[in-house]
């Protein structure tokens, strides 16, 4: 068990700044996701922590000690790779035992650990097999078992579920959460899939162009995005952004007068979650022109425009709306985000 402090880490590849001054503190036993689109630097950051890549500047401390300059094997961590990286020339048993064998653990301990972790991940039946006779999901279980068998202080996961098909991914996600909760290992999880990050993490660090845009619990990040990018990246459908004119510290939204944060003048960007609305009569609410209505079973997804700006709105499945309709929406005052249209940054939440 150990905490991790990432202190102003930079990484440049030739002229390309992969990481610009990234700082992040991860508590002991915490599960933190690095979330962002491809090329945002999340994998690079993970590889710097692992020691597979060297930082151009900055410090990484694990359990209070700097690991800069240490070989990966001396950092007390384990890793699960995107392509599983199970050794094809070893049986599942030897794969899981690999880290312990390298630590020169005695056979009894190896056996006990392999059986324990194999049990956790339900791969006991395959221990004698070679990985080429396993499916992708089974290989990923082996990779996770191999990582857990060494009882690492820190567990790093690099998009471990992205090679699995959708159904398997959901199943493995639940299982990972169960296993990792009981293990209590400090975990850093890299993913571009926001549902994975939301479902698994204690906290999420959203990355974009080599910068951490926001760190927070899934609920914080979802409800109070600090930048336009975070709001747009997290959530399905993504957050809607509507430009509204500010008149005397307020905006007018279809009969509703909404106070905006102090200092906002001219125009303001309203960040609106698709479900933070209520349907009211057209006369009483903010009018929305519905272009397409998609009944999703659990809810009704509407795509259309408010004040000629594209929005996606979620209504309860019981509502009936058809393409071409105009409906009225009442906004949930407590769940709105106000952003500056120029910088894309959110104003501090109004008290």
């Amino acid at each position: 068990m150990a905490d991790i402090i990432i202190d102003r880490v930079q990484k440049t590849f030739a002229a390309f700044h992969a990481l610009k001054d990234v700082s992040l503190t991860i508590g002991d036993g915490e599960f933190v996701s690095l979330l962002g689109p491809s090329g945002c630097g999340k994998t690079t950051l993970l590889r710097i922590i692992a020691g597979l890549e060297t930082a151009t500047a900055g410090d990484v401390r694990i359990g209070g000690k700097t690991v800069i300059g240490l070989a990966p094997k001396d950092r007390g961590l384990a890793m699960v790779f995107q392509n599983y990286a199970v050794f094809p020339h070893m049986t599942v048993y030897e794969n899981v035992a690999f880290g312990l064998r390298m630590q020169k653990a005695d056979d009894a301990r190896v056996k006990a650990q392999v059986e324990r972790t194999a049990g956790l991940l339900h791969i006991e039946e395959y221990l004698d097999r070679y990985p080429n006779r396993l499916s992708g999901g089974q290989r990923q279980r082996v990779a996770v078992a191999r990582a857990l068998a060494v009882e690492p202080k820190v567990l790093l996961m690099d998009e471990p579920l992205s090679n699995l098909d959708a159904l398997l991914r959901l199943e493995m996600r639940t299982e990972l959460k169960t296993v990792l909760q009981s293990a209590g290992t400090t975990t850093i999880y890299v993913t571009h899939d926001q549902t994975e990050a939301m479902g698994l993490s204690d906290r999420i660090a959203v990355m974009h162009y080599g910068v951490i845009e926001q760190v927070g619990t899934p609920v914080e990040v979802y409800n109070h995005p600090r930048t336009r990018f975070v709001g747009g990246f997290i959530g399905s459908p993504p957050m809607n952004f509507i430009r509204l004119p500010v008149i005397a510290g307020e905006v007018e939204a279809g009969g509703q007068k909404l106070a905006v944060p102090a200092g906002a003048t001219g125009e303001i960007l309203l960040g609106l979650r698709g479900e933070a609305v209520e349907r009211v009569s057209t006369a009483d609410g903010l009018p929305m022109h519905v272009r397409v209505a998609e009944p999703m079973g659990s809810h009704l997804l509407l795509t259309g425009s408010i004040r000629d700006q594209l929005v996606r709105i979620v209504l309860p499945a019981s509502e009936t709306v058809r393409g071409g309709d105009t409906i009225g929406l009442k906004l949930d005052r407590d769940r709105l985000t106000w952003l500056s249209p120029d910088s894309g940054k959110a104003y501090p939440a109004t008290p």
């Binding site: 070989a71 961590l77 890793m79 392509n83 990286a85 199970v86 690999f98 880290g99 390298m102 070679y130």
Partner: protein
């Protein structure tokens, strides 16, 4: 299932017939010449000149072949050949595989020109180099030794060893190596515990190739030796004056070690693990 039942009933059998006839043809392609050479070598003087040939192994005995083996210089040159080939295999793997690994895994200044330079060693015909080589070998005390021949054969085999192993190491996913580093291996340990076992089929194929290059090479071996001849160089000088069945015996002796060597390492020639993490 439905597709299989729709095809004519005799389709699988004709397909199998095709496969087996192909296998038979390929086997015959390799085995018939060896068989005829062996027949000539073991048939003795009468067997060689017998006409019409029956093609059947009648009247053969190991005697003529043993007689050939016992004749002056044959055994020694055979051992010389083995020695030179052994040196070639060991050196070209020991030097070529690390070079191939460096080419596969690292990017360094002058990588492309290095790769070209490696190939350029084969650009100069040995015939041009023969005289200066002989002179310097005499100076270095390598002239007329098995080591000298082994060294020259290494030069011939090394470019291929480096370039072929580069391709092999490229085929070993980097992630596997990184996983080994994470789970407690130093770079050297990871190389021997993970990369080498996975690259083994390719490394063995390279070894076979180096062996064959050395075993078959005759020009350098003839130029650089006088008394310590390799088998090819020895046979070249002797066989033209030998009776027919001696020539066949020489041919058989040239074929046998390659066959035995490849047979011994055949297990490693096939990618038993099927490198694939996909």
């Amino acid at each position: 299932m439905s597709a299989a039942s729709a095809t004519p009933a005799n389709f699988p059998s004709s397909r199998r017939w095709l496969v087996w006839s192909g296998i038979a043809a390929l086997c015959a392609w390799v085995l018939v010449p060896i068989y005829l050479v062996a027949l000539g070598a073991l048939g003795g003087r009468q067997g060689v000149y017998q006409w019409p040939k029956t093609g059947l192994p009648t009247g053969i005995s190991i005697e003529p072949f043993l007689l050939f083996l016992r004749s002056e210089g044959v055994t020694q040159s055979f051992l010389n050949s083995l020695g030179a080939a052994g040196i070639t295999v060991v050196l070209s793997i020991a030097l070529g595989a690390p070079a191939g690994y460096a080419l596969a895994r690292y990017s360094f200044v002058g990588k492309d020109s290095y790769r070209l330079l490696v190939l350029l060693t084969r650009a100069f015909p040995l015939a041009i180099l023969a005289l200066p080589l002989t002179v310097s070998f005499i100076r270095l005390g390598l002239y007329d030794t098995v080591y000298g021949v082994g060294l020259i054969h290494t030069v011939l085999a090394l470019p291929f060893a480096a370039l072929v192993t580069q391709g092999i190491f490229l085929g070993v996913p980097r992630e596997l190596e990184e996983a080994a580093w994470i789970f407690g291996c130093s770079r050297v340990q990871a190389f021997f515990k993970v990369v080498v076992p996975l690259a083994m089929p390719g490394i063995v194929a390279t070894a076979v190739f180096a062996f064959v290059i050395s075993w078959n090479e005759v020009f350098a071996a003839s130029v650089l030796t006088v008394r310590n001849r390799t088998l090819t160089a020895y046979l070249l000088t002797v066989l033209s004056e030998s009776p027919m069945h001696f020539r066949f015996a020489g041919g058989l002796l040239l074929i046998l070690p390659s066959v035995v060597f490849i047979f011994a390492v055949r297990r490693y020639l096939f990618a038993i693990w099927g490198i694939s993490s996909k």
